[in-house]
């Protein structure tokens, strides 16, 4: 276990280093002068030169890279060209919102996807199987802006049950920041009003986002359930009188979830990345829009910071996936202990 974590962390260093390296040099191939973007259109050459000097852009690329890496190690991700604020501040402001949304969506997707997948497997080739397939496939195929707007129209426009945008009502003070997740922070500080409000706000976007991820989970659960249900030990258990829920959940699902974990891990990664449109439609203060704007501004420090964050996140998610494997599959646990 320790060995595995060490290995993963080594991989983290490797991947993160590689990613920053590639992205740094890629971003320097791209035409577009960050100094220009920073000083505005009417600046003189003199000002430009000065800013270039400040940004270190007048130095050779590799020196810039070394400087960048040095700064990153000391916790400085640089200053955004677009917002002219430290990238780290921007990311820490936006990231928790994205993460909270992604996790909520992920939770909903699991909550619906797993039972749906189980149902589809148990009722293979019958109505519920077809239903779950159509339902989940329509999820991946439907453009998010579409389902998003329909949901806003319905629940906000006509029914007025849920708010259309934001994380919390404008006049409610967000809870004291502990985790950055409003739902958790409001519970921690015992602010029920804030909790209710943030719950109301997160529900629609999370629903929309999860709909797009449902297919992956449902599909995988169905496939691995079918595989597990066909295995000998299920038959043994049945022959020994195990049946019903115990059979389905304690015997089958637990093992069916093992291969699902990988898929789910990857899908969580794509949730993080794929929240852009959802965030735009629901005015969700996340990273998606920040990044897209940064890209169109060629805001290198912001792009690099985001890339760094995502690649670290990717490796961490992988680590979590592996740890989950360990938890679920005793065989792995034992083999590594030896």
């Amino acid at each position: 276990m320790k060995k595995m974590i060490m290995k993963r962390l080594a991989l983290l260093v490797f991947v993160v280093f590689g990613v920053t390296f590639v992205s740094f040099f890629l971003s320097h191939i791209i035409p577009g002068d960050p100094a220009r973007m920073m000083v505005g259109q009417r600046a003189s050459e003199e000002t430009l030169k000065q800013v270039r000097g400040q940004l270190g852009l007048d130095q050779p690329v590799w020196i810039q890279y070394v400087t960048y890496v040095k700064n990153v190690i000391s916790g400085d991700l640089g200053t955004s060209i677009r917002t002219q604020k430290p990238v780290l501040d921007d990311l820490t402001a936006f990231f928790p919102a994205t993460l909270e949304l992604a996790m909520a969506a992920f939770f909903i997707a699991l909550l619906i996807g797993i039972p749906l997948g189980v149902l589809a497997a148990v009722k293979k080739d019958r109505f519920w199987d077809h239903f779950s397939r159509l339902f989940s496939i329509s999820g991946v195929s439907m453009p998010v802006f579409w389902s998003g707007l329909i949901i806003i129209l319905l629940f906000y426009g006509y029914l007025g049950w849920f708010p259309a945008s934001g994380r919390i009502d404008l006049n409610i003070n967000p809870p004291t920041r502990v985790t950055g997740f409003y739902l958790i922070d409001s519970l921690l500080s015992g602010d029920i009003v804030a909790f209710k409000s943030s719950l109301k706000h997160i529900l629609l976007p999370a629903l929309v986002l999860s709909y797009a991820q449902l297919a992956v989970i449902t599909r995988q659960v169905r496939a691995s359930m079918l595989e597990v249900l066909g295995q000998d030990y299920i038959r043994t258990a049945m022959a020994n009188g195990i049946h019903g829920w115990v059979l389905l959940y304690r015997y089958a699902l637990r093992n069916a979830l093992i291969p699902t974990v990988t898929v789910v891990g990857i899908s969580f990664g794509s949730l993080l990345g794929g929240a852009v449109v959802t965030e735009t439609i629901f005015g969700w203060p996340g990273m998606g829009k920040y990044v897209v704007d940064s890209i169109s501004y060629l805001d290198f420090p912001a792009i690099m910071g985001f890339t760094l964050l995502i690649s670290i996140g990717y490796v961490l998610i992988n680590l979590v996936v592996d740890l989950t494997y360990y938890f679920l599959d005793p065989q792995l646990r034992e083999s590594e202990v030896d």
Binding site: V19, I30, S141, L149, V276, V291, S311, V315
Partner: protein, 292 residues
């Protein structure tokens, strides 16, 4: 002896119907998928016959007209007929999506089988690079690429291919790892057959089915990604009709001119759905794990 031959002959006949076809025949969902794709491909190929409008010709006076007998799907912000743009756009959207995935799958299979078959350092290097690609935010990689090579549909396709390669490499690799243990591969090794030949003859053909499944499922996604890149100015350049781009522009008008994003959206939805249905169907048919 004659009796033996007789039984043998009796066995022969039904076996000639390959089980795949039998299963396919009975899989309604997959057929629905095929029919949808077929219709979309057919209509987009027959676009010049089916519609008399030029998909790129601008008639400002007729902008934002709702669906009518004249314009079945209405017109867009510069008065172009949306139906004709959808039909012509189908060629591009579907074609490019399919092409992008084909390229990806091909590269992925090559790298994945090499990685899985030879193992060791080659495997490590390939897989670490794949890790890096996976860890790279898709959009940024695509942007950087398109920016470096100049924005065009071809480059958008290339970007998608690179972003999606790791999936196929992993898939092909894990298949190869399984196949490498199969006795027919071991046999081939004992015969002294060249590894490249083994890969081409045994590994690749036998690892195709999951790749095909994944590819089919990915096409819909690729179409969407091309659209996203198009929206960022890195895909098809206007006025080329392309579904994703149409939707990207049109969705701002959803509340007032619902038809603008809706019809291309329906087509996108239908084709993505169809590819997913086909992919799911093929998975059921080819994947021995899901067989009962």
């Amino acid at each position: 002896m004659s009796a033996e031959i007789q039984t043998v002959k009796q066995i022969e006949k039904p076996i000639t119907i390959h089980p795949v076809w039998y299963k396919l025949k009975n899989n309604k969902m997959t057929w629905i998928g095929f029919v949808i794709i077929f219709v979309i491909i057919l209509t987009s190929l027959l676009a010049p016959v089916l519609t008399s409008y030029d998909p790129t010709k601008i008639y400002i006076v007729e902008k934002f007209q709702g669906p009518s007998g004249k314009h079945w799907f209405g017109t867009d912000e510069v008065g172009r007929d949306i139906l004709s743009r959808i039909l012509y756009g189908g060629r591009l959207s579907l074609g490019m999506g399919v092409l992008a995935i084909l390229i990806t799958a091909a590269i992925g299979i090559v790298l994945g089988t090499i990685s899985g078959f030879f193992g060791g350092y080659i495997d490590q290097i390939i897989m670490r690079i794949m890790d890096m690609i996976l860890a790279f935010p898709t959009l940024i990689l695509a942007m950087a690429l398109a920016a470096a090579l100049g924005p065009s549909l071809q480059n958008a396709m290339l970007a998608i291919a690179i972003v999606k390669i790791p999936v196929y490499v992993r898939l092909a690799r894990s298949e190869t790892l399984v196949l490498r243990e199969k006795l027919f591969v071991k046999s081939a090794i004992t015969f002294g057959i060249h590894p490249v030949r083994i890969i081409l003859k045994h590994i690749v053909p036998n690892s195709l089915s999951p790749v095909i499944i994944q590819a089919t499922l990915d096409i819909g996604d690729a179409i969407l990604m091309i659209a996203t890149l198009g929206f960022l100015g890195l895909g098809a350049q206007p006025p080329t009709p392309e579904w994703g781009a149409m939707i990207s522009i049109g969705w701002k008008y959803l509340l007032d001119f619902w038809w603008y994003p809706t019809f291309p959206g329906i087509f996108l939805f239908m084709s993505s759905c169809a590819f997913n249905l086909i992919g799911d169907g093929i998975r059921d048919i080819l994947d021995p794990k899901s067989n009962s």
